[in-house]
Symmetry: C2
Subunit: 188 residues, 2 copies
């Protein structure tokens, strides 16, 4: 089946601070013209930091869209033109105060491909060293350490809800189990 949709007209309906929104005209494979709403986002990074004694470092943050304070792995938006691995090391440092001596590349994820073009690049870090937090002005968060097995339990019970956090905790665990984790070259 021909699944492709052709962009006919790119129409911006909102240009904002962290996102732009389009309501394009697109052509389906049956020739019909339809609307396609797209949220444009610069892309993000997320890091699973695992300490020597098997704790995971989380950040606890208020998430305005849900009116809720939730636990997530350290993460953030890329700066314009920034290389994803650089962004990951930067966000880990800024939010939790640690840097790793070994990093693992764990792919990328598309958070909600029906309407956003955001790509979240995923990493893990071990061999952590505390060098001091560097929060942005107006960035408020608590750093929380949780044993890995307890964090997995919180995936199963539904206590953890953030998609990038769930993917990293579950993927790292399964890849470790099956001997599939390989450190990145630049971090060795």
């Amino acid at each position: 089946m021909d699944l492709e949709e052709k962009q006919i007209r790119k129409i911006y309906v909102y240009r904002g601070r962290i996102l732009n929104v389009r309501n394009d005209d697109a052509q389906l494979s049956n020739g019909k013209i339809v609307s396609r709403e797209v949220v444009e986002h610069i892309g993000g990074v997320c890091v699973l930091p695992v300490t020597e004694n098997g704790d995971v470092i989380f950040v606890k943050q208020y998430r305005y869209p849900y009116e809720e304070t939730i636990l997530e792995l350290p993460a953030g938006k890329l700066d314009p033109g920034e290389e994803p691995f650089h962004g990951a090391v930067r966000e880990l440092h800024e939010e939790t105060g640690v840097v790793g001596d070994t990093y693992y590349e764990l792919g990328a994820d598309y958070p909600s491909p029906g309407y956003t073009d955001e790509v979240i690049h995923l990493y893990a870090a071990t061999g952590l060293k505390d060098v001091g937090q560097k929060l942005d002005e107006d960035e408020f968060l608590d750093v929380v350490k949780i044993p890995y097995e307890k964090a997995l339990e919180m995936c199963y019970t539904g206590e953890l809800t953030d998609s990038k956090t769930l993917i990293l905790l579950l993927k790292y665990k399964l890849m470790e189990q099956s001997g599939r984790l390989t450190p990145m070259e630049e971090s060795k």
Copy 2:
């Protein structure tokens, strides 16, 4: 630390077909007023269908925001007022033509909590029976069966990118391993 942000003014900047966008004024715990961009979405469902012989049923779809055809588990938006489990059974049936005799509730995820309020409800289905696909007009997709172990491999290599798909495949596997899967009452 007081992490909460107070909504001061709710300001709609776009009202669309599958999403609305706000650029609210919010007050931080330090008293400062900031902008908060929010994408409002009705919420979604996703189902991991596992066949008798251990295959996973995927759908292959063009995703306009990425200009890419990707593999995802069957999923979709909730109808207004629809109960999530009902939506999950409906989408599984419409997209793949199967219904399950046993369902598992696997929590929910927040795809990108920095800017969207979408909640994706997650399920698995076994004991599948083919009753015929019911695609929406203008919905184009291919149904693809992949052995579970091969699908996990595609999580590890980065071939699968959709967040809800990754979470379900990884979470179901780990919960099965640790004897934590319990069928839903209504599906027994």
